[in-house]
Symmetry: C2
Subunit: 202 residues, 2 copies
């Protein structure tokens, strides 16, 4: 299940195909993160991926599908790695810490992808939007259930707290500065502490 679209099997040159495809994805991530989806041009993505303009359309049927692939892959990875961490933890507070750490770690290692996920949520429509919405809600549901373990109830307040939490996490790309070598683990711990104390006291 490494394929993101319905293209015919790429034969034995599979490894070359995959390398090209992921270089296109990496380029797209960079350009879209910098210019926004509407502002990003397929021409520049192609140039950055060292491929012809029309070459993009051998790997993706449209600019939309490119964005879809980026977002879907990022959310899937986030969910997968979070579930792996959660499977080994039982204490609600440890599990909540895993939520924070998982998100921040993914952010630290894939800033452009996460920014594209957060900032271009509404740039898709139709089937692509629906598919991304589904995994996004899956991720949201997962986090919400962990928050509910801490608060002890699945009520409106827990729901709002989760939304507040997502706000905090999703805003990070706006102020985090790679150049400043900020310790992302400390940020995660600090965010966790404030949120945890906040919901426990309520």
């Amino acid at each position: 299940m490494t394929q993101t679209n319905g293209k015919p099997a790429p034969g034995r040159r599979n490894s070359q195909y995959q390398k090209r495809l992921s270089s296109v994805l990496r380029a797209a991530s960079k350009v879209i993160a910098r210019d926004g989806f509407e502002g990003a041009s397929v021409r520049e993505v192609a140039a950055k991926a060292k491929i012809g303009l029309s070459g993009i359309y051998y790997y993706f049927e449209s600019k939309d599908e490119l964005l879809y692939a980026l977002q879907h892959h990022a959310f899937s990875t986030l969910i997968e790695s979070l579930q792996e961490k959660l499977a080994q933890l039982s204490s609600p507070e440890d599990r909540l810490k895993a939520v924070f750490d998982n998100h921040f770690q993914y952010f630290a290692n894939n800033m452009d992808d996460l920014k594209v996920c957060v900032h271009e949520i509404e740039s898709l429509s139709g089937k692509y939007y629906k598919k991304v919405l589904k995994v996004r809600q899956e991720y949201y549901g997962l986090v919400k259930s962990v928050v509910a373990e801490v608060t002890g109830r699945k009520n409106y307040a827990t729901n709002l707290a989760t939304l507040s939490l997502f706000g905090s996490l999703n805003w990070v790309y706006m102020w985090y500065d790679k150049e400043k070598n900020i310790d992302i683990d400390k940020v995660s711990s600090q965010f966790l502490r404030v949120f945890l104390n906040g919901v426990k006291a309520s």
Copy 2:
């Protein structure tokens, strides 16, 4: 100081001029909030404002200046109304409550404007970007000082807490549903409670 640009004085028909101008701003706010700045077309803004395409350029010198006017006005209003509220309060917790309420009230009454402020921060460049950055940082500094009153210190933790707070507030437009008649005051109280308990316990 009702003028946002350096246009010549509009004579006695000032009232008509101002009405047109604000109808352009309202239309722009709607369209940009829905389609994003890059995706929004000046043609549709003009249509929604019931003016010719070229008429827009009588009031604004460029699409960029339009966005600048929207953002600068929104931040200025946010700062002004917050300062009015703060001037009458002395208790740190009451003042923090005023920060939440002020932001949520403005959001409730000007959703499109606030969304454009949050979502299109990076859509400007050059002089317009710098000017908006300035008022944005003024607003940030104001909120941060109130948070510092509650925590009792202006350290790194307070700084991070403020960033976390802004994330929560700025994310609201992504999930708030006007149709569902959500009580925005309750949302504000709930967000305040979690944040306040969080920073007090730390």
